[in-house]
Amino acid sequence: MKLKKALAILLALAMAAALAACSVEQSPNNSQTGGDPAGESGSGTQQVSIEWWAFPTFGNATGYEEEIIAAFNEVHPEIEVNLTTIDFTSGPQTLTAAIEADTAPDVLFDAPGRIIEYGKAGELASLNDMFETASADMSEAVLSACSDGTDYWMYPLSSAPFYMGINLEMFQAAGADQYLNLEGDRIWTTEDFRNACQALAEAGYVPGIVYCGGQGGDQGTRALVSNLYGAQIANEDMTAYTMNSPEGIQAMTLLQEMVNAGYLDVATDMQAAQELEMFQTENCAMTFCWGTSNAISYHSDDFTQVSVPFPSDDGVPELETLYNGFCVFDNGDQAKIDAAKTFIEFICTDDEWGPKSVLQSGALPVTGTFEALDLYAGNEEMELLSSWTQYYAPYYNTMDGFTTMRTEWWNMLQRVLANGSDPQTELDTYVNNSNAAITG
């Protein structure tokens, strides 16, 4: 009997320990850096601990985040920063789950699409105070990308355009390089694009793949469609989606004809990542999702990768923009909010670490102060991209209904390009469903 009692006690202890273990918060890829977690410095300053979740905008496992936390802690030892890296595949779901479970991080490094959505939903702390002085150093376009029109929710670090990449050797072998313009801003027209695709297809190459298997990199296909005949994705005051305009229908009709003629491929089972792999492995002659980070991730020494803007009928492209920036979640603790803002300010504006962070993100600065530093002096590619900032398109990623619009987009492409449905009917459906999400 004594043995049974001892066993029972042992079991109870084991279960209690298991329960206690369950209550300990654990996150994958979580690392604690800097600060004075135990508050043992004896300085008398109140210790604050904040959670920083970061997508790999500074690169995968580069150690840059840890470096900058260490540098920050030299100036602010009273603020402990716990870093968690998340990826673009599962990160958004992890964030959503964390927000709903009231375990959102204090700082998030992301882009306006999600951040403004969180801000509108009341999950974020307003950053209006940070913009009181900073706004004078930023363009209107940058400022509008950080705001929902009422409050500022994102503090920007850097920006870059999205554009196309081509395989120069394939173009040359197919005689399609005659349609390219590699001078100046490398502007080319819709007719050039169509002729180049035809030449490539007739030479036996896969010219390009219109990927529509999901929302990954969908900005690339939207930019392609909108540029061909100057269709606007949204109206001027960003209150409605407008891609079912005559220009949009004309563009989708052209793409449908090109797909039917074999001048372009459509892949309903690919997203941008797979299309970029096809480009990198020389299985297609162009990519519609080229950008500063993809140019690094999908670099190849086996052929010449040339950046070109999207083709347009009037020779004036409108390029989608990537903004990298930070937001602060309102977790109900003003001390944490203030600490988070201090940390963001250090990353984005510190004389030494601000420019370093811009360079690490591989994008262009968003403030006049850092632009004046000419961070990419001597880098022809970045100077070219810098000249393309004049072609930045109106930024619609902060619009209401943005997430619904994205889902509707790739499904519309599938119906028109893979199923052969009528472009006007499907664009009407896409626009109506997207606008319905705006009105709720």
Partner: protein, 301 residues
């Protein structure tokens, strides 16, 4: 009732009952915390328009909208197709393989069990990556063989064509679903009373008669388990679809689970997504009840 338990005093019996419940308590705790409570919360949320940033009571509006939603209808149809095709094929194939290998020598039996169980223990991501490569339009194994044999002029998009995409998903689901049923059938068939089989054989029964009259009734509980588990897994098919097709093309491979995920995690419409979850749970319960009824609760009486 055995003589021993009859002779137990009420005090002793009560004490044993209390001890039994105490041992059940931890499991009950986790069951209530992680199964019952989320289920109840899901039902309550399905009656609201819960979304990121707010929630208000809307009664049955989500359910009304659900049955008018063409994507949900398509997803439900796809789900039912997956279940209706998967469950019988998985069950019959597993039974066939199990019957073929359970009498083999131990080493051969282990080899086949390992072969069929391998896709189960391999992670979904790895499985999908390999299948995705095999189905690849440009560099895939199947297209390489078909174009090499002159059957196709150029690569065919198996996963991108609405006529073949769902079949591809069902095929992959099949390969990942048969491992466990085969192992279960091998074990169940090995436990069939050999004296009854020998007696029937001596009496002149054919192999088919022995199977249907002796072995089949003996493995009926296993069959019921296999059918119910395969049904539930097929209804909840999600990871394959998310990794393989994202529900496309044009929702041709979308299931209720996938649409639920898309609604909750990409569009932040939690109330609407929960309504889907409740409907799916009801449908699974109805299917399972029907299976219990048809299979007499796993008996042949």
């Amino acid at each position: 009732m055995s003589k021993t338990s009859m002779s137990q005093s009420p005090v002793l019996r009560r004490r044993e009952t209390v001890v039994s419940y105490l041992f059940l308590l931890p499991a009950l705790f986790f069951f209530v915390c992680f199964v019952v409570t989320p289920m109840a919360m899901g039902v309550v949320t399905s009656l609201t328009d819960s979304h990121m940033g707010g929630s208000s009571f809307v009664g049955l509006r989500n359910y009304v909208e659900l049955f008018q939603d063409p994507v949900f209808q398509k997803s439900m149809l796809n789900t039912v197709i997956i279940v209706v095709v998967s469950v019988p094929t998985v069950t019959v194939f597993s039974l066939w393989v199990g019957s073929a290998i359970y009498e083999m020598r131990a080493a051969a039996r282990s080899f086949f069990r390992c072969v069929f169980y391998l896709p189960v223990v391999t992670g979904s991501v790895a499985v999908v990556v390999v299948w995705r490569w095999m189905f690849h339009t440009y560099n895939g194994l199947f297209n390489h063989l078909l174009t090499g044999a002159g059957i196709l002029d150029r690569g065919f998009s198996f996963l991108g064509d609405p006529r073949t995409a769902l079949a591809c998903v069902i095929l992959i689901l099949f390969t990942t679903s048969i491992g466990q049923p085969i192992v279960l059938y091998v074990a169940a068939l090995g436990n069939v009373d050999s004296s009854m089989v020998e007696a029937a054989s001596v009496d002149g029964a054919s192999r088919m008669q022995i199977f249907w009259r002796i072995k089949w009734p003996a493995i009926m509980p296993t069959t019921l388990y296999v059918v119910v588990i395969t049904t539930i897994n097929s209804f909840q098919c999600f990871a394959l679809i998310q990794l393989l097709t994202s529900g496309g093309p044009d929702y041709a491979t979308s299931t209720v689970m996938y649409y639920l995920y898309e609604t909750a995690f990409q569009q932040y419409q939690y109330g609407y997504a929960d309504a889907m979850g409740v409907v799916l749970a009801i449908v699974i319960a109805l299917f399972s009840a029907l299976q219990f009824k048809v299979m007499n609760g796993g008996t042949t009486e």
